[in-house]
Amino acid sequence: MTTEKTLPEFYSDRLHFRIGVLEDLDELDAFFSSDASRYVGGPRPRGETWDALCAGVGHWHLRGFGLWIITSLEDGKMVGVAGLQQPEGWPEPELIWVIFSQYSGGGYATEAVQAIRPFIAREYGVTQPMSLIYPEYRAVVRMAEKLGARRIEDVEIPDGPVPAWRFPAPTGEPDA
């Protein structure tokens, strides 16, 4: 898609979901250059995080859906990143979420995922999204399963088969 459009933002109780801007790079780099990012694509150099930031915005124009930067409504600080991504050759979009380590344990990941699921079901028809998760990343597997996600067959992406979980349709949404 290459038309100019306003990209969606929304809110949950404590969080603001918005499109990335260049000024987000420092906060993103602080996390993605640290070992805490080892299950979610890091640690990586600042240039790659710049690519990821731009790619997160570019994704909206290529696919019509994409990623949000999540900030705290309390102090405006970045809490993480979440949304739908579907690189070329992937069979379907993936629901991803990353909550920075300094916010872990605060229920932010659950809040973000529970806010995004009905939004993407309504706006993009993605009612039962899958997520690619390293099985050894136990905390995230536990959280996903607590929200009803179940292990499915590995999803084939061009890089190879990847362990995956699938969420049920959010409450109040029709089954796909």
């Binding site: 260049l22 790619a55 997160g56 570019g58 994704h59 124009h61 290529l62 690189p87 061009p158 890089d159």
Partner: protein, 166 residues
């Protein structure tokens, strides 16, 4: 913003579409890409590719698909400055089968003139691997001058400095 569509008699530069990526991946797997920064997987390329699109929104510059006048995808050209680039760069590649038709020269001329006019760029360079003779020849034909004093992110590169032509 999205990439502006630019064209002349030889070539059209247009915004990227998802379908551009598979031919780009095939190119990066080919020996002709040996002297470029190659992505390690299709998904890795996706982040670079989508970044060239999002860069327009965030920085007002980025990548274009290079097309022949009859609409065939022929390559990519980009005006960009990721954080590890000391200066704004213009970079390009052509897919297999599209060399020797003047496409790269025409595309680089359009993109260079756009950068000087629309961005009011006061500096524009190309970082080229020192063994990439074809790209070096093109930079010289564009009127760029080798600048050995310029900073670079990769010691294997030479730096060509472009000049406003009109």
């Amino acid at each position: 913003m999205i990439a502006p569509t630019l064209s002349n008699a030889t070539v059209t530069l247009r915004p990227h579409r998802v379908e551009d990526m598979a031919p780009y991946w095939a190119f990066f797997c080919s020996p002709r890409a040996a002297l470029m920064d190659r992505p390690s997987s299709p998904t890795h390329l996706w982040y670079g590719f989508a970044s060239e699109v999002g860069s327009w929104v965030l920085q007002g510059q980025g990548g274009w698909a290079v097309e022949t006048p009859d609409g065939r995808l022929a390559g990519q050209i980009a005006v960009s400055q990721p954080p590890h680039f000391p200066e704004r760069e213009i970079g390009w590649f052509l897919l297999d089968g599209f060399e020797g038709m003047g496409l790269a020269h025409a595309a680089a001329t359009l993109a260079r003139d756009w950068a000087f006019d629309a961005l009011k760029a006061d500096s524009l360079v190309s970082y080229i691997h020192r063994d990439n003779a074809r790209s070096i020849r093109l930079a010289e034909r564009l009127g760029a001058v080798r600048d050995d004093a310029a900073d670079r992110h990769d010691d294997a590169d030479v730096v060509y400095r472009h000049r406003r032509v009109h």
